[in-house]
């Protein structure tokens, strides 16, 4: 479904991703772990199409399409969703209005009929119930005055409504207490399906107790340095990221000789 090949990305003149390759198949959950500054969030942003992320080399194919050639809105319509690490507050824009505009814009882009406000409200109410969110959330401005936990749950709620094919969760666990973490994980697990893939970016192993990944990748210095099953996450939790430096030194030594 998603094929990232030798991706190099530069941000503000600095190389962040330096040859990242990754393949995600439909139905799979991949976790991306790694130390701060490894390029985890950059990966999320470059897939979603944020400006200022310059791809200098490599390619990204999503469902047979060149993803990098698409505008952010076209990526969303073709099924990419990024749950932001820091969701943006947008005063003056009503949450329901925003979601309906997004939902219908995606449908329109795909040549599907738009949903009227009654039908949309019904859909949205169902999703709220599933995520244990209050109705009141719908009448507030997008993320305005939301607590950290509410913002993250609002991201998962949006994902539930938009039903993407590829969901990228960028440190959705950061700033969540254990109860909120469970709710978020429950929301994600409900959306797991053979047609949908997840890229779960996280710094800590904790989230992966609740969202059990099929594959765990370690991202360090702009590249995937190791991949494994869920036990790799446990090993990282146990040993931290310090061993990566030793590994890198070994690699450099091998290269020099």
């Amino acid at each position: 479904m998603l094929n990232i090949d030798n991706l190099h990305v530069r941000v503000a003149g600095k190389d962040i991703l330096k040859g990242l390759s990754l393949e995600v198949k439909a139905g799979e959950v991949h976790a991306i772990m790694g130390p701060n500054g490894a390029g985890k969030s950059t990966l999320g942003y470059v897939l979603a199409g944020r400006e200022g992320y310059e791809v200098t080399q490599g390619s990204v194919t999503f469902r047979g399409q060149d993803l990098l050639a698409l505008e952010p809105e076209a990526r969303a319509a073709s099924g990419v969703f990024l749950a932001f690490q820091y969701p943006v507050e947008i005063p003056g824009v009503n949450n329901t209005y925003f979601l309906r505009a997004a939902y219908n814009a995606q449908r329109k882009h795909r040549g599907e009929p738009e949903l009227d406000s009654m039908a949309f409200l019904k859909l949205v109410r169902e999703k709220l119930k599933v995520l244990h969110l209050k109705d009141e959330l719908l009448n507030r401005a997008v993320n305005e005055g939301f607590s950290g936990g509410e913002k993250k749950r609002n991201e998962i709620f949006q994902m539930a409504v938009l039903e993407p094919t590829l969901a990228i969760l960028d440190e959705t666990d950061s700033g969540l207490d254990i109860d909120a973490l469970r709710l978020v994980a429950e929301g994600v697990n409900r959306l797991r399906s053979p047609e949908r893939a997840f890229l779960v970016i996280t710094h800590y192993q904790r989230l992966l107790d609740y969202i059990v990944p099929d594959v765990v990748h370690v991202l360090a210095d702009g590249r995937i340095v190791q991949s494994g099953d869920k036990d790799l996450a446990l090993k990282l939790e146990d040993q931290g990221y310090a061993w990566l430096k030793d590994r890198k030194r070994e690699e450099q030594a091998a290269f020099a000789s």
Binding site: R75, A76, P87, V88, I90, P91, V93, F98, A102, A105
Partner: protein, 393 residues
């Protein structure tokens, strides 16, 4: 002497013999150049209301309670005056302040005087229609509204144009609120891109009286509004909620002077401005607390968005305090559309143009949502949606 000045003075030569228009160096008119107007020559304005298209007639008739002006002339036949209003026409002295020369010219003309003797439960629509016959002319209008003590009135003033022309509108409104009165006012113009509009509004607010003013300014070739408000009685209140939204080559210059003359008076001004393409938005807000107006509470906020490299915003918040124990705050900002918000909306599938429109509307809507009169609020929001064209984003 320019033909502009001659034409203005000719309407009442005795009263206006000394009228002089702002020159190029006049600081108050720095961003509203009269150069183009000074180079034009004007035809005589229509002497009576003309014929209107059936569509326009229907549009006017849809306002239940209304005062209709056609090309500056009060049109009794098309108006529907509610009870409790006393209407007379006076030849008033040219009594507008000297620093508002356009207003002085208009105030020298026969003035429609409206005495509000009873509280009005329904909003009064003041509809100023500009017909095609008004092209090449200066259409002048003078209104004097007096609210008796304790009465309430809500006004929606709108200008409707038959076709975009180079007409110049010069309108003067003199408002007097006796003690305990309340006036809510919404100003909306649907002016064309070639039109020039000069508005002068003066209000004197008595003890315990409230004047709430709202405006959606979409601009014109030249659009200037001077709002001059004096809080003359104790605990008088003045509020402004407005926005400027200019695109293409439109211009809108808003000057608000709020003068605290009595104790414990309150003024609260919130204005937002957006300028796109080659639009030019100007806001000058001045809060003056005179000596002896102790306990005054004065606040002014003006936030702006510049949406294009060719657009221009000028803002000047001023605070002038001559009294003690005053609470005062003022601030102005000019920024750009938040790229993070834009990306957030787009990442959810909303096309860029629509995302921009959503963010612009949200920004401009904020002060309008605070309009207390629900009917005025609704009308202001509708006017806002109208004046943000789809292609402006």
């Amino acid at each position: 002497m320019s033909n502009l000045q001659q034409t203005l003075v000719a309407a009442a030569p005795e009263a206006l013999g000394d009228l002089s228009l702002p020159g190029a160096r006049d600081e108050r008119w720095r961003y509203s150049s009269l150069r183009a107007l000074n180079q034009r020559s004007f035809s005589a304005a229509p002497t009576q209301p003309g014929a209107l298209s059936p569509e326009l007639e229907a549009k006017i008739a849809a306002f239940p309670s209304r005062l209709v002006f056609v090309d500056g002339h009060y049109d009794e036949a098309r108006s529907a005056v509610p009870g409790g209003l006393a209407m007379t026409t006076q030849i008033a002295p040219a009594n507008a302040p000297a620093h508002l020369p356009f207003a002085r010219a208009a105030s020298a003309l026969p003035t429609l005087v409206i005495g509000v003797q009873q509280t009005q439960s329904e909003p009064l629509h003041i509809v100023s229609v500009l017909t095609a016959a008004a092209a090449d002319t200066i259409v002048q209008q003078a209104l004097w509204i007096e609210l008796a003590a304790g009465t309430t009135l809500s006004v929606q003033h709108r200008r409707i144009v038959e076709a975009d022309s180079n007409v110049v509108t010069n309108a003067w409104r003199d408002l007097a609120l006796a003690d305990g009165a309340r006036l809510d006012w919404l100003e909306v113009g649907e002016d064309g891109e070639r039109a020039s509009v000069v508005l002068g509004t003066r209000a004197r607010v008595g003890a315990g009286a409230t004047f709430q003013f709202a405006e959606v300014a979409a601009g014109a070739a030249l659009y200037r509004h001077d709002l001059d408000v004096t809080l003359v009685g104790e605990q008088a209140v003045f509020g402004v909620r407005g926005c400027t939204m200019v695109s293409r080559r439109r211009h809108a210059d808003i000057h608000i002077d709020a003068r605290h003359r009595a104790k414990h008076t309150r003024a609260d001004i919130v204005w937002r401005g957006l300028a796109d393409q080659r639009g030019h938005g100007i806001f000058a807000g001045q809060l003056i607390v005179e000596a002896g107006a102790d306990g005054a509470d004065a606040a002014l906020s003006n936030k702006n968005l510049l949406l294009s490299p060719h657009a221009e915003i000028d803002t000047r918040p001023v605070l002038e305090i001559h009294a003690d124990e005053v609470k005062a705050a003022h601030g102005a900002t000019v920024g750009r559309l938040d790229e993070r918000s834009l990306f957030y909306l787009r990442s959810r599938g909303i096309p860029e143009a629509e995302a921009r429109r959503i963010l612009q509307l949200a920004f401009a809507r904020e002060p309008l949502l605070q309009i207390t009169d629900p009917q005025l609020r609704e009308a202001a929001l509708a006017a806002l949606a109208r004046c943000l064209p789809e292609d402006a984003a």
